[in-house]
Symmetry: C2
Subunit: 130 residues, 2 copies
């Protein structure tokens, strides 16, 4: 059996995530990255000038705040934040999500905070497993 | 409230899908399309020469056959079929999935069959709703 023919198990990937707001890259396709993350509390207001970003809730619920409103996402719901739109993810309780964004996207946008994780940090587990 | 701040409810989108193997576009980001589809039975062997394609199972289970093996995907599991790899999706029971692929991807690859749905057909509901 070809060892690459293994499914990506999202729940197992998320179980391996120890830190809140620290995205874990689980797949790449067409220059886009698929990530999982655990959220709780408030992130940071930011924007991605050149990239759209999709959030899909796998467990729990989250809100995405915008300057003129917000959207609530529950399990099985997703939303695309268009490029250039300032937003702030908030999770009142712990929420598990899947993220889609280009490989070059900084997850805190133009803002660098204590929560900023480099792409090397987001993919570290893959090199260790390799 | 800005009417664009509505979540995409995957189960509701899938409930609206009447036909098997007929992808429904639910979102677009960065030139990629997010689609949902209901599968049952065997699709058709094909490949996408320039595009990777991701399958995520939302309900049920499916298999992706390759020329030298296969992968089984259950709920909450995903897999990226790399560009150029011949594959055939199979669902022994009805399976609900999410698909990620570039906007220009023909879902039956280079093969045109009775199951081929044009992008206009895959997005028809969005123009009707608009």
């Amino acid at each position: 059996v070809n060892p690459t023919y293994q499914p990506i198990q999202l729940e197992a990937e998320l179980t391996a995530v120890a830190e809140l707001w620290s995205p874990r890259v689980v797949a790449e396709l067409n220059g886009q990255m698929v990530k999982v993350a655990k959220l709780k509390g408030e992130f940071v207001w930011h924007q991605h000038d050149g990239e759209d970003e999709m959030f899909l809730v796998l467990k729990g619920a989250m809100r995405i705040q915008f300057e003129d409103g917000e959207v609530t996402l529950r399990q099985g719901e997703c939303f695309v934040v268009p490029r250039g739109v300032r937003h702030n993810p908030v999770a009142d309780e712990e929420c598990w999500i899947m993220l889609f964004e280009p490989a070059n996207t900084a997850h805190t946008g133009e803002v660098v905070t204590a929560r900023t994780r480099s792409l090397a940090e987001q993919t570290q587990h893959r090199r260790e497993a390799g």
